[in-house]
Symmetry: C2
Subunit: 245 residues, 2 copies
């Protein structure tokens, strides 16, 4: 499995992905699931992937190759004029890669399917965030649904629903996203640290702060243990049920 | 979907189930998913069901019919000497009902599968709690895993993991289980009030407190809104992330 969250804030976009991949519980590895396509001063695009690793690596490699060799067939993720067209290109590439294997009549114990999140900003456009389905179509985040999750989404969702606020600072948003990751990591072995993040500030049009949170990160450990204590306190502060009522 | 939780406490057992059934989002109904088999002073057995409604109703009807007509073939849920044998009988009945339809070569848009929780106490035995799989086999709760969930288990799990304590009073345990239900109900349309509960006190060997929590229940509403506030307070009490570290 995987867990990735992308969040639209008034200040910009925040991305976080875990790094665990597994084929059964006895075959786990660490792979990066966050990828950047930048042209400094012109565009910043961040892609996160969940699903079959061969599929997602093939999609990312195709996007990268097409952007490097000038004589490769277009379209090119570094040339397209809007985020909408970027999402369309990624969706089309994803669908092609999946159908290559499916159409071969190949069978696998798990499917070749994958889901992706892409967000960023190009030129004069607004920052945009899309969730791309294996079929190649996609939906865009809006004020009503300002964040997307892919992979193991359920354990970490309640706190996002309750505490998200578009006016949050990036520091608060990092805290929120880490609490959401912590709930997921505690519940599902197939989601694990280290975690990659990227903080994109609106109109910066370039790579923002990126980093990796390692298992021994003191802030993560503080959040992880502190959240347990805070939850129990919040819980004990609520009134008990009364059977007499 | 469905959400049911059964919990083993030092004082006894606590059961709660929702009542929503759905076949698609445009066909929802309210059905009871909690069933009791009692012989006052001798045994108290509580059964909760998740999965295909035709399957679970058939299983419960078979168990009830066999317990009513004396000339029906045994075994009988009201005669079996141990909870282990009761779990075995339910598992066998469940497997039979599922295989009747599957073996017919019938196809359905969803499967005929179902999962059940059964708990209670018989005579001098200890209170016991079992999770029964569609294949008819089952696992028992223990000190390490003192509660079981069936149906939509993920949203409501983090608070159970963090706040469960075997020494809890029934009043605290009701609060915990309602917070867990509230998180699930907020996230999944196919889980909904009213909620049925049964509180079984160890060695009482009879029906304990039962009741139904309706959508307008003031305590539920207090917990539901109070938990949102408490979560946000707990969250804001944690230190923010620092990008300088």
């Amino acid at each position: 499995m995987t867990y990735c969250v992308a969040m639209q804030l008034e200040r910009g976009l925040l991305f976080m992905s875990d790094t665990r991949t597994n084929s059964g519980v006895d075959n786990i590895s660490t792979f990066r699931k966050m990828f950047h396509f930048d042209v400094e001063g012109e565009r910043s695009i961040t892609l996160m992937t969940a699903g079959n690793l061969a599929t997602t690596q093939a999609v990312v490699s195709l996007l990268q190759e097409r952007s490097k060799s000038a004589d490769e067939r277009s379209p090119d993720i570094l040339d397209l004029p809007t985020m909408f067209q970027v999402a369309g290109l990624i969706g089309q590439t994803l669908r092609e890669v999946i159908s290559q294997h499916d159409d071969n009549g190949q069978k696998a114990s798990s499917t070749f399917s994958a889901t992706m999140l892409v967000g960023g900003q190009i030129g004069n456009g607004e920052p945009r965030l899309y969730l791309i389905y294996p079929e190649g179509n996609f939906i865009e985040a809006s004020a009503d649904t300002p964040y997307f999750q892919i992979g193991e989404t359920k354990y970490g969702r309640p706190i996002l629903v309750r505490a998200y606020d578009p006016k949050m600072s990036f520091e608060e948003a990092m805290k929120l996203i880490l609490v959401s990751f912590d709930s997921t990591i505690k519940a599902n072995l197939s989601v694990a640290l280290p975690l990659d993040y990227h903080v994109y500030t609106t109109d910066s049009l370039g790579r923002g702060r990126t980093g990796r949170i390692e298992p021994d990160d003191p802030y993560y450990q503080e959040i992880s243990s502190g959240w347990g204590v805070a939850l129990r306190e919040a819980f004990s502060g609520l009134p008990d049920f009364s059977f007499e009522s």
